[in-house]
Symmetry: C2
């Protein structure tokens, strides 16, 4: 029998889904899971996602050569070194290093999925769509696409990525889930015009005000950092099975 | 300044929205708010929505001539008289009577909106779309479109109705909300073919198994029971301002 696939539109709804023994894909398109893909694709040895700034600083001081990163309102947080932009992590800078990244929406969801007994937690965004779908097809396990949303509110960019995954792999899963049907249709409707469409989203307006248009374009560009980040021992590392 | 409009996709997310002093539209297309519209349109003096079966029986025994109604798994609940089908409430039966209706998803959301200090709570579905939009346009207040969902999970039919409302009145509101944008686009995509599209939803599959196709067709037919149910003193009554 085929495994099941569901789409969870907000961390506040994750308890409604059968997380235990499923693969959970953490989706935070603007910008955490896009930046994670970029850093690992460019050779970071690992990314440690943390929820709060103090933990970020603490780990940064403990780990030799670690880069600490995080933003609030479009600015690097005081006491951290870099921001949340995927463009800040080219190979000649991040190669071989540890990135300690503080993000709010995505990290909370990731920790919750781990605590709820997920078989595996991976992260996805358009830059690593191919690696995510390739992996899900190879595992024959139930899948939950977990949108990080914005402070628990539905957002379109994460939904569109869930739709892109579904569009690519749906024949291989049982899907009885209106959110998956909606996500796929929204992606289908806008897939040839993603960069224009996301300019209608609330998150675009929030981030574009900080001059981050180039970042956002990267975040919706398919397979430009095609790596599979797997969460293991509190850190995300690139899978070498691709 | 224009008032704001937001769409809340699940009762579990209502706390994220500014309910206080807003008009909250309770949406439970399959079938509570469609049946409420049908009963009031056909002359019921009032509909009392209750969450549990015991309260339903108790009120039924206290109120002279009251009709008690509720279903589980497509069958009338033991001890109650009628079901959740809008077709069960024609004028010559329900005219002048009190309907005590037990529903789960919609009633919970309704009570929560009241407790959170909503300025007004009304109910909507396709059969009374016109009455709802007419009323919202006349009030100049902030609006929250509250989807009842299915056990807190996103559903398409409630989202489509939210989209229909938005499509009709959006010029008169400030809307910064990805769920509203999504709802409107989903409605726009399927508005000429609603009855066919809803056959892809999970709820359709659940209810069609009980032979309720005719009911579901009524539930997505616009303005066939065009009345405005307003919640006041624990009961829904038809507004006479239309």
């Amino acid at each position: 029998m085929k495994p099941t696939l569901s789409t969870c539109l907000s961390p506040a709804l994750l308890h409604l889904y059968p997380v235990k023994d499923a693969i959970v894909v953490i989706i935070d398109v603007f910008r955490a899971t896009s930046t994670i893909a970029a850093a690992l694709y460019n050779g970071a040895s690992r990314v440690i996602p943390v929820e709060d700034v103090d933990t970020c600083k603490e780990l940064g001081s403990q780990i030799d050569g670690a880069i600490t990163a995080g933003e609030r309102d479009g600015k690097v947080i005081e006491g951290l070194q870099y921001g949340n932009s995927p463009a800040e992590y080219p190979r000649d800078f991040i190669g071989g290093k540890t990135l300690v990244l503080t993000t709010t929406n995505g990290t909370k969801l990731l920790h919750r999925a781990v605590n709820d007994g997920a078989a595996e937690v991976i992260t996805g965004s358009f830059p690593n769509l191919g690696a995510v779908t390739h992996h899900l097809l190879s595992q024959n396990k139930n899948v939950i696409l977990g949108c990080s949303a914005w402070k628990n509110r539905f957002n379109l960019e994460d939904t569109l990525f869930a739709g892109a995954v579904i569009k690519n792999i749906k024949e291989h899963f049982i899907i009885h889930c209106d959110s998956s049907l909606m996500a796929e249709q929204m992606y289908d409707q806008h897939k040839n015009n993603l960069y224009n469409f996301i300019q209608h989203t609330t998150h675009w307006h929030r981030l574009a005000a900080y001059g981050l248009q180039k970042d956002l374009e990267f975040c919706v560009t398919i397979n430009v950092a095609n790596v599979l980040p797997i969460y293991t021992n509190n850190e995300l590392v690139a899978s070498h099975t691709l």
